[in-house]
């Protein structure tokens, strides 16, 4: 059960880099497309904007740009919010099956109506999208079809059907089919003012529903069995959650495109998880990340012609994810490296102190130890050893005198504490874990540096050890 859940989380996190790669691919594909289509030497790629154009786009000077940007920003916010719950419910990848399953619906709606009416296309998309989700749920009931396989099957088959239908439409050549392809990659520039307004309203609905159902969603995401024992209709709550995911996906199709819209659900949520350990802040951060991605993506694509909006939105979300992964204060890569480095330093310090304490034990208090003698106690590198010595002298643990070293008062107190921890842990391992005395030294080495104050007290009680510094179990004189 546990492994299963951990696996799902891994899948969701794994999908982040994949989605980002697809985003990059789409950007590159489009720029080469441009080359092929225009067949002109002078106009052979993306046209980069002038600063003035850039400024106009950023400050939302143009009415159309303004509408599009506000629409996609709201969309990003809504996707961040509902995405947080989908991510925590481990349903994020179901969104991928859903978005790909919308393609046949778009094509069918076009075939039936005969022209590109956004309202009906959206309805078609929603219908086959829901059918896709139901298909995944149905496939999972069959023994030996796991969830990932079910999602893969539905995603690819529905997308395949959609592509076949699209090429059929192209064959018909009615002349009205232009722009259907933009649903695949997304093209915010094709949005009308009314489209953007619809997106804004629906995004508002999604956010409002999540605010109202916050408590219910939290309960079902965390502990479904308990929710159901408490009398909450888990299936209904799940259905509501999935409906909001469907709504966000379908609304986002035109702006982001069906290949990448799932990223808007997963990536902001996954990025937000790095910054906080509580649900409400996570939802807010995800909403902010989604909104920033939506705003940036649509702004860039508004002033760089032929730049696909969806891909840029997803890439900005990807950048936010990377920053979160590296720089977050608790879970980030940098923080982890820093913590490890600090621990390594502390361990080296404690090794030095323990060596000194052992010398004092055999030779008497305030003994002076030759640096070379001290060095031979552990496998220190030359530079590592001199760093440790310098640091210990700076801290005031040791007094250095030419080539010999002596513990100071404060150094002695710390050194004896380190030695005590080491000895207590060794004794515990010998007495309770039945580990041979010749082996415990190394095991104790790993643990002693992380023993907390209360654990040491517990150890003392368990071992009934009264001596300030317990004697060495090795019986090798100085404990060397």
């Amino acid at each position: 059960m546990m492994q299963d859940r951990a696996g799902h989380r891994r899948d969701a996190t794994l999908s982040v880099p994949i989605v980002i790669l697809v985003g990059i691919a789409v950007v590159m594909l489009n720029s080469t497309d441009a080359v092929a289509q225009t067949r002109s030497i002078t106009d052979n790629s993306i046209t980069w904007p002038t600063w003035e154009k850039f400024w106009r786009a950023l400050t939302l000077r143009d009415h159309t740009t303004r509408v599009v940007v506000i629409g996609t920003t709201l969309l990003g916010m809504a996707a961040g919010v509902i995405g947080t719950f989908a991510y925590l419910r481990k349903r994020a990848m179901l969104g991928d099956a859903l978005s790909h399953a919308t393609l046949p619906g778009i094509a069918l709606a076009f075939l039936i109506i005969g022209e590109k009416q956004l309202g009906w296309l959206t309805v078609g998309a929603a219908v086959t999208g829901v059918v896709g989700v139901l298909a995944v749920m149905g496939l999972r009931r069959i023994p030996r079809v796991k969830e990932d396989a079910a999602i893969g099957i539905v995603l690819s088959v529905f997308f395949g059907v959609g592509m076949v239908l699209l090429s059929l439409i192209q064959e018909l050549n009615t002349g009205k089919e232009a722009g259907l392809g933009s649903f695949i990659y997304g093209k915010a520039a094709a949005m009308l003012t009314s489209d953007a307004q619809t997106i804004g309203v629906l995004a508002g609905v999604v956010v409002l529903c999540c605010v109202l159902l916050f408590k219910e969603f939290r309960l079902v995401c965390f502990d479904q069995a308990y929710a159901s024992a408490q009398g909450w209709p888990v299936a209904l709550i799940d259905l509501l959650m999935m409906s909001l995911v469907v709504l966000t996906t379908v609304v986002g199709l035109q702006a982001v495109g069906l290949i990448l819209v799932v990223a808007l659900l997963i990536v902001p949520a996954a990025a937000a998880r790095f910054w906080t350990d509580a649900l409400l802040p996570m939802t807010l951060v995800a909403a902010a990340f989604g909104a920033i991605s939506g705003w940036f993506g649509s702004t860039v694509s508004a002033f760089v012609s032929r730049m696909p909006t969806g891909a840029v939105i997803v890439l900005s979300a990807g950048v936010l994810f990377l920053i979160s992964m590296i720089a977050s204060p608790h879970r980030g890569v940098l923080a982890t490296i820093l913590r490890r480095w600090q621990l390594a330093r502390r361990i080296a310090d404690q090794h030095l102190l323990r060596a000194m304490a052992e010398f004092e034990e055999s030779r008497g208090l305030a003994t002076t130890v030759d640096e070379s003698e001290l060095w031979s106690m552990r496998s220190w590198t030359a530079s590592g050893f001199s760093q440790v010595l310098a640091r210990a002298a700076r801290t005031g643990w040791i007094a250095r005198n030419k080539h010999s070293v002596q513990l100071t008062e404060t150094g002695r107190a710390s050194a004896r504490r380190v030695l005590t921890n080491h000895r207590l842990w060794e004794l515990y391992l010998i007495r309770y874990a039945d580990i041979a005395p010749s082996h415990v030294d190394r095991d104790a080495d790993e643990i002693e540096h992380v023993l907390s104050e209360e654990l040491v007290t517990e150890l003392r009680q368990a071992l009934k050890e009264k001596a300030d510094v317990p004697p060495s179990p090795h019986n090798l004189g100085a404990g060397i």
Partner: protein, 288 residues
């Protein structure tokens, strides 16, 4: 009235397969044979996973105000028993009553502590958030958690000795502390009957002692507590009553009377080959 005298059940299921067939016919005759005074009475309950029966003909009435241990080997259906009572998994047959009424009526009076492993502890929540979930049943749809609910949650946390950990992220708690958070979540409900699924699994000695004290306090306040337990050694010390379970109830009653060598032999010794085979046959037939 079988359910009112659980200890008399001891030898009724010497041949469970035959009993099952008999009971099917008897259902109408002894239907609704529940003891209204019992906090939890189970009548003729059979539970199946994917059509494969895992619990056969459970008849049981828990005594009020006692600490009851549910004991049996792996795969005996201990957790399934609790889940089936709480309507979490469907029953193939039989009925369950809490204080004489179905679970959906008595829901507020029953506190459930699921297995600790049943959730992902990396969920973004603090200890207090999880405990407050015990109040959700009292809060209407779409309403946020109120201040008095948070106060109640804080109270429950201090009852399990975790007052200092209220704002701690749940993934940073030890296994024993996580278990205590789950207990606090059930306590916050202020139920009359508690069903706990392996609360002692994988906890440290300090937590185990704290939980035992808590269970005794609950009992002394007149609550009934049923606990799925896996450590046979501590059964006589912890529980007043015990249910020995292995796909059916082998024996149930006061610990002093039924927790003995021969009953344990019947529960743990030798697999119930016939019952197991029958279950497989039923599953296969059902699939066709």
């Amino acid at each position: 009235m079988r359910s009112s005298a659980p200890s008399a059940d001891t030898n009724k299921h010497a041949d469970p397969f035959a009993t099952m067939i008999l009971t099917r016919r008897d259902v109408s005759a002894i239907a609704e044979d529940h003891d209204a005074a019992s906090p939890l009475s189970i009548h003729d309950m059979t539970v199946a996973y994917h059509r494969k029966p895992v619990l056969w003909d459970i008849d049981y009435a828990a005594p009020a105000g006692k600490l009851v241990g549910i004991v049996g080997p792996n795969g005996a259906g201990k957790s399934t028993l609790l889940k089936a009572c709480l309507d979490l998994i469907p029953r193939a047959s039989g009925s369950v009553r809490f204080h004489g009424e179905p679970y959906r009526v008595r829901r507020r009076e029953v506190g459930y502590v699921p297995q600790r492993e049943s959730v992902d502890w990396d969920f973004p929540a603090r200890a207090l958030d999880v405990v407050a979930m015990g109040c959700y049943g009292r809060i209407p749809w779409c309403w946020p958690v109120r201040r008095k609910d948070r106060e109640a949650a804080r109270d429950a946390l201090s009852r399990v000795g975790m007052a200092d950990y209220a704002t701690r992220q749940i993934s940073k708690l030890s296994g024993g502390q996580q278990q205590r958070v789950f207990l606090a979540r059930a306590l916050v409900q202020d139920a009359r009957t508690y069903l706990m699924d392996e609360p002692f699994a994988g906890v440290d000695a300090a937590t185990e002692a704290a939980i035992v004290t808590l269970l005794r306090t609950l009992r002394d306040n007149g609550k009934t507590v049923l606990v799925v337990h896996h450590d046979l050694q501590t059964v006589p010390e912890y529980f007043d009553h015990v249910v020995l379970l292995n796909m059916r109830i082998v024996a149930a009653g006061p610990t002093a009377e039924i927790f003995n060598e021969s009953n344990l032999q019947k529960t743990y010794g030798g697999r119930l080959t016939l019952l197991d085979k029958a279950a497989h046959v039923v599953a296969r037939e059902g699939r066709r």
